[in-house]
């Protein structure tokens, strides 16, 4: 167990290093530049601006300078287009919002998705099963930029229950969390159903039935643990994705989260912000995968060697 954790951590560090390096050179290989504006910036001003951010140096010098700042000073660098703003500030301000929203969403996804999948599996090939499957399919197919505005118009403009967008009232997280949660619930429901069907046809379940165990106990005590393994494997990375924000959700509901920065940093060629975000996201993914691994081991004794 400890060996597994240590080896995963080692792999994680190597992954992150490769990630930093790849990102660093890929963003600089993109066509365009952070200094392109509708009206071309005069050359003399451009020169000063590049000196200020260090982008006037050769790429290799920039790379080693970046690594040094990162490792020695834990400094992710400054924004290029926003003078004096640190990448760490942007992440520090926006991540808590995305984290909160992500936790709510994953909660909704679990509360809706897992029971729906389990019930569908138990009531296989009945109306319940088909309606769960159909709903899940709709949830997977409908993109968030359709569900989001629909929810906003219904709950906000139609019923007048909630604000259509914004982040000022304590109830403002409901709509984005539901939108994000429902989409993931759909995936979870399908995975839980598949996993449960697999397990429910196993011999030990039949044995339990033969021994006369009540159906609810069979499902909850015996089947659930094994049946949820595929869903759990999905939850890890999905959770990392959800707590790092969603561009679509954030622009539809005007949420000051982290997801929008992923997209805007790329279109604005905010090199240091892209690098910082990718590193941070990589960190989350590595961490979430490790947690998912541990959770699977807890659920599946066969993985404990």
């Amino acid at each position: 167990m400890i060996r597994l954790i240590i080896s995963r951590l080692g792999q994680g560090i190597i992954t992150l290093f490769v990630l930093i390096t790849l990102t660093f050179f890929l963003v600089r290989a993109m066509p365009g530049s952070p200094y392109v504006e509708e009206k071309a910036i005069p050359e003399h001003a451009l020169k000063r601006m590049k000196e200020y951010t260090g982008l006037d140096q050769p790429v290799t010098v920039q790379y080693f300078r970046y690594l040094k700042n990162l490792i020695v000073y834990q400094d992710l660098g400054d924004l290029i287009k926003k003078d004096g703003v640190k990448v760490s500030e942007i992440i520090g301000e926006s991540f808590p919002v995305s984290l909160g929203l992500g936790v709510m969403s994953i909660g909704i996804a679990l509360i809706v998705g897992i029971p729906a999948g389990v019930i569908a599996a138990v009531r296989k090939n009945t109306v319940v099963d088909f309606s769960c499957l159909a709903a899940a399919m709709v949830g997977i197919c409908l993109p968030s930029f359709v569900i989001g505005p629909l929810l906003a118009v219904t709950a906000g403009l139609g019923l007048q229950w909630l604000n259509v967008a914004g982040w000022s009232s304590p109830t403002d997280w409901i709509l984005p969390a539901v939108t994000l949660g429902l989409i993931n619930a759909a995936y979870l429901a399908r995975l839980a159903r598949g996993g449960m069907l697999d397990v429910l046809s196993q011999d030990y379940i039949r044995t339990a039935r033969a021994k006369g165990a009540p159906p609810s106990r069979i499902v909850i005590r015996h089947a659930l643990r094994g049946g949820l393994i595929p869903a759990v494997a999905f939850v890890g990375p999905a959770f990392a994705g959800m707590i790092s924000g969603s561009f679509v959700i954030e622009t539809i509901f005007q949420v000051p989260g982290m997801g929008q920065h992923f997209v805007n940093a790329a279109t604005d060629r905010e090199f240091f912000l892209i690098q910082g975000l990718v590193l941070f996201y990589g960190f989350l993914i590595v961490g979430a995968n490790l947690l998912a691994d541990l959770a699977q081991i807890a659920l599946n004794p066969r993985l404990r060697r």
């Binding site: 509708e38 003399h44 020169k47 601006m49 200020y52 301000e93 505005p149 000051p256």
Partner: protein, 677 residues
């Protein structure tokens, strides 16, 4: 910060009726079913929920803000910063207008320039070249310090300081000597502005101070190349290409070893004068030349500022309204860094000090910026609005939903679909106003067949601008020139829709009925609003009228800009919003070397007329010169004018005193918010 409160109202009727009243409007069938079956049980369970969700009568954020006197404004973007010398952009300008005040601000009542702002009056001399500003004696910064002429002089020096690298410093080139100082033209400053006994002005003009772009040093790699240069030939080539202005001390010292051999001097130059020039240049490396540059900014006394311009500028008041001309507090800026230092923390929310009607209250990135009353503002007693909250809503549909939901007093824009809907449902809330901006296409005049003026004209005559405005660019006006009409300026009527003329011109250029015409690419940015639809319509018009095919080349925004600046396109979609209310802002774009030209087009006649206009003190004659220059531009057609912009946006009925301004630079402080029943 306004947080929505939930009001519980007591009502006469039972909860039951209330519940069904609400449910049946939303789900009529469900209501009928429910009423029959399990009503009592359901009511028992859901009573607390019903109280919360159903009987709550929410007061909208707009209603609350109206009571508090705070305007909620959609502002489209998260500002890149609050330093008026660093940023550019409409979203930033909207916020800066509340925090900083220039010598003159736009009149809230009429769309004309009348002195308001930090100066009591700004008066020209007879030639409109020397302007004197009398500052308000009661002007104060938001920390209570007085606003003096020194602050303004400092601000103009700061934005022009080369080290700051202010990209919009060009706006101050109206000041005498500003361009040379900002571009660090040391040679010109040392020997022309400050004539030296040994170097006459004529001689100075012949010395290669600015470098010779014809000397190719590409093979030497990027600078700093000095260390890597070995042979004298390579060094000499480098020195010639750079010019004396850009050289560091070491290269200058190297030239000094054999001054006449190492540098391209004028023929009449002798060794002694060359040495003198080199010594002076070497001494000037890295020093601030503000005093020597004699930029036309003079502090007469604390309340008087004298500005000397590069030439007669009768429209100078319009220029002064631009935010690059606002003052920044000298005592605060210098507390956090040097004059030419970027990215200091003086604009951080805890440090920023301004002289505008408001001061920064709170800033949460990508969420809001809120400004509150500045008690030290000279006209604080007449400021009617207590504050403004700017929301960086990038998604226009989200913005429209928030407006409909009572979360905004005013939107930044209104998408075409929203315009159509609002016209039907709430026409009184929709504003459609002219805006000093245009929509046009650039031609790459360096590429065949677009290097032929007849081809460019043919393409221009093939466009039905009225149809485009009616069906694609809602609210826009068909353009007959690049400059929208403003003030006393009516641009030449040249761009028009004439299919016969278009066909004839194309045939004359060698492509009868579009035969053998190459397949051109029409560059657009995928993210810019109506551009894709517009491009498709134009594509069809070219096909129908001229029988030619263009291909739409859809690029991501940054790549789209780069392609234009590298002249790597055939035809490109573009638009421009004027910086100030004068035709010059739309015409100087087309001078060679301007960051907006990007067409490869250069016409000496055009440049000459424009330059004449800069020396013309008579307002009417000046406009005539501009009119002539625009005629040259339109006849040469390096650009295809399509339309003049309009601003479509939504305004809540509670907002009073909002008058349309051409530049949309309305001051917020005198608005009134009146609750509507």
């Amino acid at each position: 910060m306004s947080v929505r409160r939930i009001h519980l109202r007591k009502r006469g009727g039972g909860l039951e009726n209330l519940f069904f009243a609400k449910i049946s409007t939303a789900f009529p069938i469900a209501a009928v079913m429910l009423r029959g079956v399990m009503i009592h049980r359901l009511l028992l369970i859901s009573a607390p929920l019903c109280v919360l969700l159903v009987s709550c009568q929410k007061e909208s954020q707009v209603d609350q803000a109206t009571r508090a006197g705070i305007l909620l404004v959609g502002n489209a973007i998260e500002p890149k910063g609050l330093d008026p010398h660093i940023v550019s952009g409409v979203g930033e300008a909207n916020i800066l207008r509340t925090l900083f005040e220039g010598l003159i601000t736009s009149d809230p009542e009429h769309d004309t320039a009348t002195p308001g702002g930090a100066a009591l009056e700004v008066t020209p001399d007879a030639t409109a070249t020397v302007w004197t500003a009398k500052l308000r004696p009661d002007g104060k910064w938001s920390d209570g310090m007085p606003v003096t002429a020194r602050d303004f002089a400092f601000s103009y020096e700061r934005i022009l300081t080369p080290e700051l690298g202010a990209k919009y410093a060009e706006m101050l080139y109206f000041l005498k000597g500003a361009e040379a100082f900002n571009q660090d033209k040391r040679g010109e400053i040392l020997f022309v502005v400050n004539p030296d006994s040994q170097v006459t002005a004529d001689l100075a003009k012949q010395i290669n101070f600015r470098g010779d772009p014809n000397v190719d040093i590409k093979d030497l790699g990027e600078s700093p190349v000095w260390q890597r240069l070995t042979g004298d030939g390579a060094r000499g080539r480098f020195v010639r290409s750079q010019g004396l202005d850009k050289l560091a001390k070491e290269p200058i010292a190297w030239i000094g070893e054999a001054p006449l051999k190492h540098f391209a001097w004028p023929a009449s130059m002798n060794d002694e004068v060359a040495r003198h020039v080199l010594t002076k240049m070497s001494d000037a490396v890295g020093t601030n030349l503000w005093e020597l540059a004699k930029v036309g900014v003079e502090v007469v006394d604390d309340e008087t500022l004298r500005l000397t311009l590069r030439g007669p500028t009768p429209y100078f008041r319009e220029i002064l309204k631009h935010f690059t001309w606002t003052a920044v507090p000298r005592h605060v800026v210098l507390k956090f860094g040097k004059i030419g230092q970027r990215g200091t923390s003086w604009t951080r929310p805890e440090n920023i000090v301004g002289n505008g009607p408001y001061k920064l209250k709170s800033w949460r990135r990508t969420d809001h910026i809120e400004v509150e009353r500045n008690p030290y503002y000279w006209d604080a007693k007449h400021v009617t609005l207590n504050g403004v909250r700017f929301l960086p809503i990038t998604n226009f549909y989200t913005e429209a939903r928030m407006f409909r939901d009572g979360q905004l007093h005013m939107t930044y824009t209104a998408a075409p679909e929203v315009v159509d809907l609002m016209k039907k449902t709430h026409p009184e809330e929709l504003r459609q106003e002219p805006y000093v901006g245009n929509a046009y296409y650039r031609f790459n005049t360096t590429r065949k067949p677009l290097d032929d003026v007849r081809v460019r004209q043919a393409l221009s005559y093939a466009i039905d601008r009225k149809a485009l405005c009616d069906h694609v660019l809602r609210g826009y006006t068909p353009a007959y020139a690049m400059t929208p009409p403003m003030g006393n300026y009516d641009p030449p009527h040249i761009a028009s829709f004439d299919q016969d003329k278009a066909k004839r011109l194309l045939a004359e250029a060698g492509f009868p009925n579009g035969k053998n015409f190459p397949r051109l690419k029409l560059l657009i940015a995928s993210s810019s609003g109506a551009a894709p639809t517009l491009a498709q319509a134009v594509q069809a018009m070219f096909r129908e009228t001229l029988g030619i095919e263009v291909e739409i080349d859809n690029k991501e925004w940054n790549a789209y800009l780069v392609a234009q600046q590298d002249l790597d396109y055939d035809i490109a979609n573009a638009g421009w919003v004027g910086d100030y209310r004068d035709p010059l802002t739309f015409l100087e774009m087309w001078t060679p070397g301007n960051g907006n030209n990007n067409t490869g087009w250069a016409n000496p006649a055009f440049v000459k007329l424009l330059q004449q206009s800069l020396q013309e003190a008579d307002a009417a004659r000046r406009l005539d010169l501009l009119h002539q220059s625009e005629t040259v531009l339109l006849e040469d057609a390096p650009v295809l004018a399509v339309a003049w912009q309009a601003r479509n946006y939504l305004v809540h009925p509670s907002v009073r005193g909002w008058h349309p301004l051409l530049l949309a630079d309305n001051p917020y402080q005198y608005l009134q918010l009146v609750p509507v029943p």
